[in-house]
């Protein structure tokens, strides 16, 4: 596995523009002082039809645009072929916590599974997963473990490891879907305000991987979010993030409060989860400012875990805007 990841990284580094190195895995920053983490924001003002339903074709095109911009690829499959290899079991860690109206969009998940299959991943080697079977079903995903089809399952059905992995304040038993089923995982979170942590996006989505998220919410989830992301299996296997910001909430998260939901019609992609989240939080802050709401900091809930994740002890990525190469497509 590590060889394959290493190959991915090498292949990718060859194609990267000098000075904007982006890694196939977002763990420890292995780049020099001049390197930058790339984050791509793709938007489509015409994403929705008259009934405000998402047009799958446009969403698919938006994802392709984002991925191609990230990898500097000429065709839609290039990025996926660099990201995964046939024979690997690829997990898609979604966010289905609060039900059908506010979860990772099933159309986006479907588009990703199509691209993975086109890149040579067998349907059964794709695993859509989250915490619970009941949450996945409620959110509109069909559970499956049938041979020949894309799998979809909750960690509660498969179980958690008996022995915890530990880092800092995090001592967590990880989902066996992460530890045993998947070789690599693409993180597919949503963009949400979080009433105590400030932001729930790619780093916070890892709370859906552990057995004890409730114990990791003290002090605005800081340093717990950073520490959870330092757990060895999470660092090793989470290789990329496609953040679904087609719908997002600027207040009241992580729950479904429709009064605070809006539709940025945006995808954010990247391999540095700290850089991605540091970019994503500005989208929420801009919306709050537009509506005359206080900043997250003024409300006493800035996402402090971003700085922790970037510090010298964690080195999970960068939260320094000068070290983030932001592309909007």
């Amino acid at each position: 596995m590590s060889n394959e990841e290493g190959t991915n990284r090498r292949d990718f580094l060859k194609t990267c523009v000098a000075g904007s190195i982006v890694l196939g895995s977002s763990d420890a920053l292995a780049f020099g002082k001049s390197a930058k983490s790339r984050v791509v924001i793709a938007k489509d003002a015409m994403l929705r039809g008259k009934d405000s339903a998402i047009d799958p074709t446009r969403l698919s095109a938006m994802l392709d645009r984002a991925m191609q911009a990230f990898y500097g690829a000429k065709d839609a499959l290039g990025p996926w072929k660099r990201l995964v290899r046939p024979g690997q079991v690829v997990g898609l860690k979604i966010n289905s916590l609060v039900g059908p109206a506010f979860c990772t969009n099933p159309i986006l998940v479907e588009v990703i599974t199509q691209r993975l299959q086109q890149a040579g991943i067998k349907p059964y080697d794709i695993v859509i997963w989250d915490r619970k079977n009941s949450e996945l079903e409620h959110a509109g995903f069909r559970l499956s473990s049938v041979a020949g089809r894309v799998r979809c399952m909750g960690s509660d059905a498969i179980g958690y490891e008996d022995v915890p992995e530990k880092y800092g304040v995090a001592s967590c038993c990880l989902s066996k879907i992460l530890t045993r089923t998947c070789d690599v995982v693409i993180n597919v979170p949503m963009l949400k305000d979080h009433w105590s942590a400030g932001l729930s996006c790619s780093l916070k989505n890892m709370y859906g991987v552990i057995n004890n998220p409730t114990q990791c919410h003290a002090t605005g989830c800081n340093p717990a979010v950073a520490d959870v992301n330092m757990l060895p299996t999470i660092r090793k296997k989470i290789i990329f993030t496609v953040c679904d910001a087609t719908s997002a909430c600027y207040h009241g998260g992580p729950f479904y409060k429709p009064e605070y939901v809006w539709t940025p019609d945006t995808l954010i992609v990247g391999s540095d989860r700290v850089a991605l989240d540091s970019t994503a939080v500005h989208i929420i802050e801009r919306k709050r400012a537009e509506l005359g709401l206080k900043t997250l900091e003024a409300e006493g809930r800035p996402p402090l875990y971003l700085a922790t994740a970037a510090d010298a002890q964690h080195l999970l990525g960068t939260n320094d805007p000068k070290r983030i190469s932001l592309l909007e497509v």
């Binding site: 405000s52 059908p100 105590s196 709370y207 409730t214 919410h217 207040h251 409060k257 429709p258 009064e259």
Partner: protein
């Protein structure tokens, strides 16, 4: 001396039982605050009522339980509804420790585009949701779909809940 000790023990156990029964009744109140199908015209109750206590609130609102627990939380009951087969919604009835606890949660959120409506002690109606507090109860109804009639339909469901709470 021994008889006296026993009497105290019996009295203590009786007191504990009374408190537990009272708490149970209170929680039962939250359960029964959710209207049955067509009790409010057009609204069908489409799921079993689920209840959560302080011990397992995080199973329902993981990541947000702390906010309610800090304010003073006793229990929540929730059920899904559907209006005339079109609008789906979820209704939550939170029972807080006292009216101030319900008020603190209610007022923690910005009013935004809400319309104030006469319901309970205070109520906010949005295009796709309705929140009101009534004594120690905090009620939240969120629709999954938007529609011109959604606010009016949500209001009717909320009135059904208020009616049950006042019994």
């Amino acid at each position: 001396m021994m008889v006296r000790t026993r009497l105290w023990a019996v009295a203590f156990i009786a007191l504990i039982l009374a408190v537990l029964i009272a708490a149970g009744c209170k929680h039962q109140g939250a359960v029964s605050a959710l209207p049955q199908s067509n009790e409010v015209p057009g609204w069908e109750k489409t799921s079993e009522t689920r209840t959560f206590t302080a011990a397992n609130l995080s199973d329902y609102i993981d990541g947000g339980a702390e906010q309610y627990l800090k304010a003073g939380f006793k229990g929540v009951s929730t059920s899904e509804y559907k209006f005339q087969g079109k609008i789906e919604a979820v209704a939550d009835v939170y029972v807080m420790s006292d009216p101030n606890a319900a008020k603190s949660i209610f007022e923690a959120d910005p009013t935004g585009t809400a319309k104030s409506i006469p319901l309970g002690d205070a109520a906010r109606l949005f295009s796709q949701s309705l929140v009101f507090r009534d004594g120690p109860n905090l009620v939240r109804i969120a629709a999954y779909q938007a529609g011109d009639d959604t606010p009016q339909n949500l209001t009717q469901l909320a009135q059904g809940i208020e009616k049950r709470l006042s019994k």
